[in-house]
Symmetry: C2
Subunit: 218 residues, 2 copies
DNA sequence: TCCCCTAAACTAGCGGTGTAAGTTTTCATT
DNA sequence: AATGAAAACTTACACCGCTAGTTTAGGGGA
């Protein structure tokens, strides 16, 4: 097949299909040939639109990150904005859990990640946090969200309780975790996020100023 | 070469060499043939000792996790024990950063991970936390540590500041992050951990009891 | 309008991957 | 002493990411 009258591929179509395949079958099941086949095309044709497979994955990661909402930093006080952002961030990642290992690992140089960092950092500095502190806070929240989306804690446990009872006395009821996987993970996230924000608020009043100065500038 | 008089391979030697290769060249550079070559052996010989490559990686992950110290839960109050554990956990992971993506992702069914969960969960319950809360706290800390070890926040930034100034106004000084990568990541971890523990301590006094009841049982 | 360069598909193929299958020889057990 | 398992080997398969070279359609300049 020579050059077709209308291009069969576009970057958007490739990224979209790649994300669908990753969601359906996992990161390891995405090969250039399988992706191309899903697009009705031969493997190497992808290289007319992307330089490497990693470039495709970067683009996929960028669209996932792009779904994160940071608008709270423009309108709400910094603790509420952080909370909204963290939950939105988590939702964006858990909506596509199979890409998270790639996304969390790779560089934050992708546009959507930079825009997100910019919004968070800017919002915290505007709220009165010293720049170095703002950096740390953004990073700490990112750690927590990425970790929570990466490996489900509960998923690691298995249904058979006997496996645990013998060697790990306190985990005798751990098999129940498998049943309530999602609620355990979300509960742990909610608890940890609340604790983090509580601790940060205490640090804020201790080192930055009163609650009043935390109002958005508008 | 037939069966040698003394076995050339042992599980321990394989795991040890695999970890060294991963540390040196990254997870992606570990192939069964390269690993075997480093052991003075042909690729498929590994399958006399491990069923799959993933089994090898699981064993590597288990030895890394095994270096985490949870002894604080036996002797210190729960906040100090959590802090010690989190730092030890982080040190164990950052000592072998290349294996972290695999480790953080996979199931927690490996013995060392189970033993760790057992110690943490048991320690928190003994301190008076309700079982469900203890599960959430252990998971939340795990999220935070894994996320912090997984992707360096600072590493994502690049030296050239002009790349940022144009589109991301608040990141104008982000290039400095690259210089202080390690201290930024550690500072973010320290800040986040302190905030988390502060928030958990507040939750403890609010819902569980006074500080007195948090003493270790002994 | 003709020409030509670029774009976007193709086919063929390279070196590498995990692992299955079967072979050979040594060691340990009966 | 015989036997069977263990631990190395070789060969081979299907797949991987990617390169090189080919073919033709489309668009811009003479």
């Amino acid at each position: 097949m020579p050059r077709p009258r209308r291009p069969l591929l576009t970057r958007d179509r490739i990224v979209e299909t790649a994300l669908a395949l990753i969601d359906a079958d996992g990161l390891g099941a995405l090969s250039t040939r399988r992706l191309a086949a899903a697009l009705g095309v031969q493997g190497p044709s992808l290289y007319n639109h992307f330089a490497t497979k990693d470039d495709i994955l970067d683009a996929v990661a960028d669209t996932v990150t792009g779904a994160v909402d940071t608008s709270g930093f423009a309108s709400r006080d910094w603790t509420a904005a952080l909370r909204d952002w963290a939950w939105s961030y988590r939702r964006a990642l858990t909506a596509h859990p199979n890409i998270v290992p790639y996304l969390a690992q790779g560089p934050g140089r992708r546009p959507a990640a930079l825009a997100m960092a910019d919004a968070v950092y800017g919002g915290l500095v505007r709220a009165g946090w010293p720049p170095a502190r703002a950096t740390h806070i953004g990073a700490a929240l990112r750690y927590f969200v990425a970790g929570s989306a990466l490996g489900s804690f509960a998923r690691g446990f298995v249904e058979d309780p006997e496996l645990y009872a013998a060697h790990y006395p306190h985990l005798r009821q751990a098999h129940r975790l498998a049943e309530h996987q999602q609620s355990v993970d979300e509960g742990a996230f909610a608890l940890g996020l609340d604790a983090l924000l509580h601790g940060l608020a205490a640090e804020y009043t201790r080192t930055v100023g009163t609650v009043e100065s935390a109002r958005p500038k508008g």
